[in-house]
C-alpha cells in the first residue's frame, strides 16, 4: 500500500489526507512540498523515549527549577544504574525565576516531601501532563508522533495521553482553558516543528516539583531532529508574568526506540498507591452518560 521511495514517503507523511485514488500527480507535487518537513514519525514502530524526566537547562539564560542541592534527586533509572535509592523531588526555591507566591506554594510541597510524603505527579495519578509537562511525563513509555496535513498528534502510550497541535492556523479568539491548552504550530525549515500553546489549565504544573503557573502561561516548543534523526531535542520558552519574574527556557531530549504500540492503561493499576496519602485517581461519582 505504501510507496517505498523516500521522496514519496515524505509526501505521504505530510499529506495523507490528499493521497487518494486519482491523485498520482498531486502526490508528486506534495513530495516537493513535503521534502521541507521534518519526519518525526518514520513508521509505526519508531517512537520517542525521553532521556530523563526533568526539564533540562537551556544553553543560556534563566532555567527551570531543579532539585535542592541538599536533597539530590535520583530517578528510578539512575537508581538502577548506580545501585542507589531513588528519591522524591525537593525543589530549589532559590531559583530566581520564581515569584514569591510560587516560592511559598512550593515550600509547602517541599515540606510535604521532607515529611516523607509523596508529591502529586500527573503521571502517577493518571492526570494529563499539561504543557510543558508533556515532555517530562514518563521515562518509561514512548511518545508516538502522527504527522498529517493539518495536525500533529502526539500520543504518550502511558495513560494513554493524547495531545493535538494544529498546523497553520491562528489561535482561537478566546480558547477555553484545558489540560493541554490550545497548541498551534508551523514547521520551521526542514528540521523543526514550532508549537505555541496558551489557555493551559492552572490545574497543571510546569514540572514534577509542583512549579505552578497562571492563566497567562505561554509556551513555545521547538521540536528538532538531531543526530541524523536518531534524537529529538525540544527547546522550550516559557513566559508567565503571573508566576515568573522573567521569561525562561528549558530543554528535553528524546531518543528513537524500536517499540511497537502496546496498551498501557493508567487508571487500572494505580487505585492504591502503596497506601501513601496521594491524590485519588480521576473517577466519576456518577456515570458521564
Amino acid at each position: 500500500m505504501f510507496i517505498t521511495t523516500n521522496s514519496v514517503r515524505a509526501a505521504l507523511i505530510v499529506s495523507l489526507h490528499a493521497v487518494t485514488v486519482a491523485t498520482a500527480l498531486a502526490a508528486d507535487s506534495s513530495a516537493k512540498q513535503g521534502a521541507a518537513v521534518p519526519d518525526f514519525t518514520i513508521d509505526s514502530k519508531s517512537p520517542w523515549l525521553m532521556v530523563g524526566d526533568e526539564l533540562l537547562p537551556a544553553p543560556s539564560g534563566p532555567g527551570p527549577v531543579t532539585f535542592d542541592k541538599r536533597y539530590p534527586y535520583v530517578d528510578n533509572a539512575a537508581a538502577r544504574r548506580t545501585g542507589t535509592q531513588p528519591t522524591y523531588r525537593v525543589a530549589d526555591l532559590s531559583n530566581p525565576i520564581l515569584q514569591p507566591w510560587a516560592v511559598e506554594q512550593m515550600r509547602k510541597a517541599n515540606d510535604w516531601v521532607l515529611a516523607g510524603k509523596v508529591l502529586f505527579r500527573a503521571r502517577e495519578r493518571c492526570y494529563p501532563a499539561g504543557v510543558p509537562g508533556w515532555v517530562i511525563y514518563t521515562l518509561a513509555e514512548p511518545i508516538f508522533i502522527l504527522q498529517t496535513e493539518k495536525q500533529v498528534t502526539m500520543i504518550n502510550q502511558g495513560g494513554p495521553e493524547v495531545r493535538r497541535i494544529y498546523l497553520d492556523v491562528p489561535h482561537s479568539p478566546n480558547p477555553k482553558p484545558s489540560w493541554y491548552g490550545e497548541s498551534v504550530s508551523d514547521y520551521d525549515g526542514n528540521d523543526t516543528l514550532v508549537a505555541e500553546s496558551i489557555a493551559i489549565s492552572t490545574e497543571t504544573f510546569i514540572d514534577s516539583y509542583g512549579t505552578p503557573h497562571t492563566d497567562q502561561l505561554h509556551v513555545v516548543e521547538r521540536y528538532k531532529l538531531i543526530d541524523g534523526g536518531k534524537m529529538m531535542e525540544v527547546l522550550i520558552s516559557i513566559e508567565d508574568p503571573g508566576a515568573f519574574t522573567t521569561p525562561w527556557s528549558a530543554m528535553q531530549r528524546f531518543r528513537r526506540v524500536p517499540r511497537e504500540w502496546s496498551e498501557d492503561i493508567c487508571a487500572e493499576n494505580n487505585l492504591d498507591f502503596l497506601q501513601y496519602e496521594v491524590v485519588p485517581l480521576p473517577q466519576a461519582d456518577k456515570p458521564d452518560f
Binding site: I13, V19, T20, S44, Q147, I155, E263, A284
Partner: protein, 243 residues
C-alpha cells in the same frame, strides 16, 4: 475458531471479487481516505443487532449476562469504563456519543482516537494477526487489530481482548475468545458506517452484527477528557441521558 475463519475467508473471497474493478491499475497507490473527525447523532445503551433480533446468547452467555445485569444494578459489579474511565473496548466504544478521529498515520497504520476516555485504537495495516501466544499473553481492552482495504472499505479484524469490558452499557458479556471484524466505509461524503461482526461462540450461538453510523465533523476539535469532570455538550446526540 474454525467457523470464524471459514466465515472470514468467505467474506474475503466475496469482497475480493467485488473489489477487482477498484484494484485494477496501480493498486498500491490507491489508499482510500477515510480520515477525519466523526460524531454519532444517536446513542443506545443496549446494542441493536442488524436484523433486529435479540442477542443469540448461549446458556453460558445468558448466565453471564444475567450476572452482569444484576451486579451492575446492585453495585457488586463496577462499570469501570464509566467509573474510572478505562477503555470501553469493542464493540461498546463504537456506540460512543463523543467524537473521535481516524488518522491514517503513521505509515502502515490507521489510528483511531476517541475523545471518550482518550482511548487509542491502533490498526496495523496489511499485517498478519499476532500469534495466539501473543494474543493470550497480552490481552488488551481494545484487542489487537489488523486491517486492510477492500476497495473503499477498511476491514479491521480484532482479537486478543481482555475480559474487563462489556459488549454494551447494559452489560452484555463477551469472553477473551471474542473476535470481531469491522467493515468501515464512507456511505456518503459526510457519513461513515462501521458494521461489526461479533464471533464469540462460548457466549453467542451464532455470529451477529451491529451497525453504527457517524457524521463527518471536521469542524469539531477533540477535547481533553478527564474522568469525573464536566465534559462537552452532548445534546446533539439523541438518546444520551446524563444523570
Amino acid at each position: 475458531m474454525s467457523i470464524f475463519w471459514i466465515f472470514a475467508r468467505a467474506g474475503f473471497v466475496w469482497t475480493a471479487i467485488l473489489a477487482i474493478p477498484a484494484m485494477s491499475g496501480s493498486a498500491y497507490a490507491e489508499t482510500p481516505d477515510i480520515s477525519g473527525t466523526y460524531w454519532a447523532t444517536e446513542y443506545r445503551a443496549k446494542i441493536q443487532l442488524v436484523g433486529g433480533s435479540d442477542l443469540p446468547l448461549t446458556e453460558a452467555g445468558k448466565a453471564a449476562y444475567e450476572k452482569n445485569m444484576a451486579g451492575l444494578k446492585d453495585g457488586s459489579i463496577t462499570d469501570a469504563a464509566r467509573k474510572y474511565c478505562v477503555p470501553d473496548g469493542l464493540p461498546r466504544v463504537l456506540a460512543t456519543p463523543y467524537p473521535f478521529e481516524i488518522i491514517q498515520a503513521p505509515p502502515g497504520q490507521v489510528t483511531i482516537i476517541h475523545e471518550l476516555n482518550h482511548q487509542v485504537r491502533v490498526v496495523a495495516m496489511d499485517k498478519p494477526m499476532p500469534s495466539e501466544k501473543d494474543l493470550t499473553t497480552f490481552p488488551f481492552y481494545n484487542g489487537h487489530s489488523v486491517g486492510h482495504f477492500e476497495g473503499d472499505t477498511l476491514v479491521i479484524e480484532t482479537a486478543g481482548f481482555n475480559e474487563k469490558t462489556f459488549i454494551d452499557a447494559a452489560g452484555a458479556p463477551h469472553t477473551d475468545e471474542m473476535r470481531t471484524v469491522e467493515r468501515i466505509r464512507r456511505i456518503s461524503p459526510t457519513q461513515l458506517e462501521d458494521v461489526i461482526t461479533i464471533h464469540d461462540p462460548q457466549y453467542y450461538s451464532r455470529d451477529w452484527q451491529a451497525r453504527f453510523v457517524y457524521n463527518l465533523r471536521n469542524d469539531v476539535r477533540l477535547e481533553d477528557y478527564v474522568c469525573g469532570e464536566p465534559h462537552r455538550d452532548l445534546s446533539s446526540v439523541a438518546g444520551v441521558r446524563r444523570p
